[in-house]
């Protein structure tokens, strides 16, 4: 059973560690060691780095969404004084970035993404451009202002083709093909599940409800844009690439591949990162081109993506359409789910996840927290003339949770049941539970979170507020979303999806130095989550060290053995377990060394107070002070002649961790109260409650920060943000005036309540916490808006919820609504 925790104070700052304490540091609000440098302006972000002789790069980009390239003429660019080089695809002749799945062509069509478009093809043509913003040439100049002057001098000639700007358009009869290899513009078409006899379940069911839902294209939008600084290091014989990425080793692999180098010849380093949210967990084209330019010029080259490019030519996310039906019995038990998912993945597959990441995620996990006995799903990705997509925080889960939660609400409405009660009758309550989707769910608090969320809303009086408002003709609504989130996908889970490149494990190396302090490496990559702190907490507990004596090293492919970076809420689960395992190995080493030196057995020794000491009452004559870590290190490094014959000198250990089976599921219920303004159609959030369970929270304020920040992004998707394109494929959001990131004014304070169902197999009992907020929020907001609209009879299923649409819906009178529903 989960244990409740009294940590719902919105002010997380001065709170004693209050839950999940499994050690001295894990479970405690340890101050983030990242903070002092970041609040004093002494962080080191990519654009803060300057090296002597550094040049500045920008890209000539396509201004047409879909066209045959006729010519890329850089003559005038090169003639501008101050321009050092301008390279087209033909000049650099680099390999493509190709993401693959181990699936047949009927299910997956690969779309190699050239580093620069416009390379001469076998037939002598220059190929095509496939979205506005596609890079065609890299221009390098002495000055970042001048390089933009130079871009204006490029002469590019196109032969325009019809632009594909919607899923309908892509799949229409006779539509132009974005990639000739992909008939019907379909890149992925997978039917993962089809329970036998499901059609009969639908035809025999008491009630069938349907939801048709679409979600807008979004930008993950880290405040720090992408960027890279590359330099050829003659002494090391290496290309050193500083770049803000969530996946440094994957960037190394692709860079080496595209440039024809061995992996040892590429070193990727990651400075402080200003957010990522998934947009930086794929390999971009620009960083490779920058690397290639630096390699040729033998000079450092820096590229900082500007905001216009970040909004239009970077990786986007989220645009999906669902047609989903669910069958229910008279009491509101779900009997079957049938879904057709279409994802608009844009112009290319991203590396390493491919254009299949969204439909495979949706197909695999759509039944969500509910006991769904019969399930059929078809998941497709289509390609379009829009910027490609990357796996943004949540990846399909915000959308399918929204659809599932709409189905629950719609069923409740049709069956005249309370929507929370319908959920209650369907959520998984016994664990482990193996679903119709062949996934085994580890223990969680699905029902408990639902109950606590509803109770909180009730106790705070929001149902009374709603009743009073309705009596006055005002539009107040209460909405819920109940969901779980698989975190820490191991290699088994990714292999099940049949990825050719299978992420999953993490590997850590730990070293104790002569000072008796340790350095631990992690292959995960913090981009704002505070891994330098949380990983140190885990190691400090394991080795009974002061947390200040643990240094965490990440983001350097020469120093970190290997890593899959940070995405899919994997860092605490997998990375945290790997650093814990490495520390565990070192602990054994330390005890063995001390036992050898003290002439006793390791079993009677333990780590305590900065050394290896005899276990009280078990230490059979061992000196009670044992040996300190510095004494042990002194022997291990400086007096190795004292070591046992079979013992290697030094104090280091390497350990890895992977998730066996289907991983671990965090869960939460969100509740949202909104009021609609009939005069403008604006939605105002009156209250937001999140009851979450991510197992043991290693650092509670960090977990709450993840939840609040995630919810803010979920609300952004529900109410504000959308990248739209006109019929020619021209993006309409080139500035922050058009891409409406919510401010503090639109973002509500969030009450967070914690439940704790520890994970049974991670080092700390932690489950992942990075994405849940983003996953739950759109459904809660959309349901609340629909509840507010209830007197009108109108139901909305699409996000973002436009004020104009709400305004129009509110014009529908109650009587008209009754008429149409009859």
């Amino acid at each position: 059973m989960p244990q409740g925790a009294d940590t719902d104070q919105p002010d997380a700052g001065h709170r004693a560690p209050s839950f999940g304490s499994t050690g001295r540091y894990v479970g405690a609000a340890v101050p983030r060691r990242e903070d002092p440098r970041l609040v004093t302006g002494r962080g080191r972000f990519l654009d803060d780095i300057a090296v002597p002789g550094m040049l500045h790069a920008q890209f000539v980009r396509s201004t047409i969404a879909h066209a045959r390239l006729l010519e890329v003429d850089l003559t005038a660019v090169r003639a501008l004084p101050g321009v050092v080089a301008a390279y087209s695809a033909a000049d650099l002749a680099l390999g493509d970035i190709t993401a693959l799945l181990d699936r047949p062509l009927e299910e997956f069509v690969p779309t190699p993404m050239p580093v620069l478009s416009g390379a001469p093809q076998a037939d002598g043509s220059l190929g095509k451009v496939r979205f506005v913003g596609e890079p065609l040439a890299i221009v390098v100049a002495a000055d970042p202002y001048l390089v933009e002057d130079a871009l204006e001098l490029a002469r590019v000639r196109y032969e325009a083709l019809p632009a594909i700007t919607s899923a309908e358009g892509a799949m229409a009869q006779g539509a132009a093909l974005v990639h000739d290899e992909a008939p019907g513009n379909v890149l992925v078409d997978v039917s993962m599940f089809a329970t036998e006899g499901i059609d009969e379940v639908f035809s025999d069911a008491h009630t069938v409800v349907e939801v048709r839902s679409s979600t807008g294209r979004q930008n993950a939008l880290p405040l720090e844009t992408r960027g890279a600084l590359a330099e050829w290091d003659e002494r090391a014989g290496q290309l050193v690439l500083d770049t803000c990425t969530q996946v440094p080793h994957q960037v190394r692999t692709v860079t080496a591949g595209c440039l024809g180098l061995a992996e040892r010849q590429v070193r990727v380093r990651v400075p402080d990162m200003g957010g990522g949210f998934g947009i930086k967990c794929v390999v971009g084209r620009e960083e490779i081109a920058v690397a290639a330019a630096a390699q040729r010029l033998r000079r450092p080259v820096k590229w900082i993506e500007d905001r216009k490019d970040a909004l239009t030519a970077s990786f986007l996310a989220r645009e999906q359409q669902y047609v989903a039906r669910a069958a229910f019995d008279r009491e509101g038990h779900v009997l079957a789910l049938d879904a057709d998912v279409v994802c608009d993945m844009g112009a290319y597959s991203c590396y390493p996840f491919t254009a299949a990441i969204e439909p495979l995620m949706a197909s695999g996990e759509m039944p969500s927290v509910y006991r769904v006995p019969a399930y059929r799903v078809r998941g497709r990705s289509i390609t379009s003339n829009k910027a490609p997509t990357a796996p943004y925080r949540g990846v399909s889960r915000p959308q399918y949770v929204m659809v599932m939660e709409r189905l629950m609400e719609r069923a409740a409405r049709v069956l005249d049941l309370d929507p929370v009660e319908v959920r209650r009758r369907n959520v998984i309550t016994t664990f482990p539970y193996t679903g119709v989707n062949h996934i085994t769910y580890d223990p969680g608090s699905y029902l408990e979170s639902l109950d606590l969320a509803e109770q909180t809303v009730r106790d705070e009086g929001w149902y009374d507020v709603q009743a009073a408002a309705r009596a006055e003709g005002r539009f107040v609504g209460i909405g819920y979303s109940c969901f779980s989130e698989r975190t820490g996908y191991g290699s088994g889970a990714f292999a099940k999806r049949r990825m050719k490149v299978v992420p999953g494990f993490d590997i850590s190396e730990i070293r104790m130095d002569l000072s008796g302090t340790v350095t631990v490496t992690t292959g995960t990559q913090s981009h704002g989550q505070g891994h330098e702190t949380t990983m140190a907490q885990i190691v400090a507990d394991k080795l009974k060290l002061d947390v200040a004596d643990v240094r965490v090293e990440q983001g350097d492919t020469d120093r970190v053995l290997y890593g899959w970076g940070s995405f899919a809420s994997r860092s605490a689960v997998i990375g945290g377990s790997a650093v814990g395992a490495a520390a565990g190995k070192l602990e054994v080493k330390l005890r063995e060394l001390a036992a050898h030196l003290l002439g006793t057995r390791p079993e009677v020794l333990e780590l305590r107070d900065g050394g290896v000491r005899p276990i009280p009452h078990a230490g059979d004559g061992v000196p009670p002070e044992g040996l300190s870590f510095t004494q042990l290190a002194d022997v291990a490094y400086l007096k190795s002649h004292l070591l046992a014959k079979e013992t290697d000198p030094g104090l280091s250990a390497v350990a890895s961790f992977d998730v066996a089976g289907d991983g671990t599921f965090s869960n939460a219920t969100h509740a949202c109260v909104v009021e609609l303004d009939p005069g403008t159609g604006g939605t105002r959030i009156l209250r937001y409650v999140c009851v979450e369970d991510c197992g043991v929270a290693i650092n509670p304020p960090i977990v709450e920060g993840q939840a609040r920040g995630g919810i803010a992004q979920g609300i952004a998707g529900a109410l504000f943000e959308q990248v739209s394109y006109d019929a020619n494929g021209e993006p309409s959001c080139a500035s922050f005036l058009d891409y409406k990131v919510p401010t503090a004014w639109e973002t509500p304070d969030v009450l967070i309540k914690h439940l704790e169902t520890p994970c049974l197999f991670t080092e700390t009992g932690a489950k992942g916490a990075g994405e849940g907020g983003t996953i739950g929020a759109p459904a809660a907001v959309l349901n609340a808006v629909n509840d507010a609209l209830r007197p009108t009879g109108v139901e909305l299923d699409d996000t973002p919820i436009r004020p104009e649409v709400v305004h129009r819906s509110l014009q529908v009178t109650r009587s008209a609504a009754h008429g149409s529903a009859a």
Partner: protein, 309 residues
């Protein structure tokens, strides 16, 4: 997103600025606070060959009231207006400080200027709406001296004003006090340009409504007045119930009178609906402000504390 190159000249006086404009010709652009110009230059949507910086001309900065009304120097920042404590300004034109919180955000208002905003001529800018509402006079200075341009002749269309290339806007003057006025607007996000904005000023005499003015932004290339709706602003009392009906009728008339266009921020129908909502709300706010003034209580919408929509 770096601006195209330009030459920069700093004006030491108004005369110096005029001399520079005459010397440099039509390619030169005046920069004051730069809060509208610089984003356009960053996107290279504006690329003047020369910038004449008038930011240092202290003589164009400040607010004062005399027999000719309220004078606001062109270089007065929005923030100076917002934080103005001059009782004469607060009594005669409380709508001006109260409206400032609609202009972008604090860090924009500290550099952005009244004159810059008016000269930029953005139909959605609050100062364009306020000058239109209150029959302001725009004072321009050229080689031949000063001329006064009534606001009705000033905003000519999309980012187009009656200001000549070699003229400098030096002052914005509000001839008549407007103690009972309010501006409101709607945008999806705090601090954004409005989809539609509305401002209402009421003539209240001896407890009755004797007329008023209504100005709208976001429904045409330039701010517009709506005489059809203004004509309905009469009532024998200032009782909220009766005024509510008057404002509703005026709002309907305003919505019927305008002919807005469609764009990604809102359809014509939606904009018309917003006109109806916002005229009514601005009317109520203006009358509440009026009652507050009459009751000697603070205004309902204090500066810097915009209410949630």
């Amino acid at each position: 997103m770096k601006p195209a190159p330009f030459d920069y000249r700093r004006a030491r006086s108004v005369a110096d600025a005029l001399g520079l404009l005459a010397e440099l010709g039509g390619e030169a652009k005046v920069i004051a606070g730069g809060q509208s110009l610089m984003p356009m230059m960053a996107f290279r949507l504006a690329r003047p060959s020369h910038l004449v910086d008038i930011g240092g001309l202290g003589e164009l900065r400040g607010l004062w009231v005399d027999d000719d009304g309220l004078h606001i120097g062109a270089l007065t920042t929005h923030h100076q207006v917002e934080t103005c404590t001059d009782p004469a300004v607060l009594a005669g034109w409380p709508v001006l400080p109260a409206s400032m919180s609609w202009i972008g955000h604090l860090p924009i208002r500290t550099l952005g200027t009244v004159g810059g905003s008016v000269a930029h001529g953005d139909a959605l800018a609050e100062w364009c709406l306020l000058t239109t509402l209150l029959d302001a006079v725009l004072v321009a200075e050229g080689a031949d001296g000063r001329r006064e341009i009534p606001v009705a002749d000033f905003f000519l269309g999309f980012f187009t004003t009656a200001l000549l290339p070699d003229e400098l806007l030096v002052e914005v003057r509000f001839p008549a006090p407007a103690p009972h006025a309010a501006l409101t607007e709607y945008a999806e996000r705090h601090g954004d340009y409005a989809i539609v904005s509305a401002a209402v000023s009421l003539d209240l005499v001896d407890g009755s409504l004797r007329g008023g003015r209504i100005a709208l932004g976001g429904v045409a290339d330039a701010p517009v007045r709506v005489p059809e709706a203004e004509a309905l602003l009469t009532a024998g009392t200032t009782h909220p119930d009766e005024l509510g009906g008057v404002f509703a009728a005026a709002a309907d008339a305003a919505a019927a009178a305008v002919d807005p266009g469609d764009d990604q921020h809102g359809s014509a129908d939606y904009r018309r609906s917003l006109v109806r909502t916002l005229v009514q709300r601005a009317g109520v706010q203006a009358s509440v402000a009026a009652r507050a003034v009459d009751d000697d209580r603070p205004a309902a919408v204090p500066a810097g504390a915009r209410r949630r929509p």
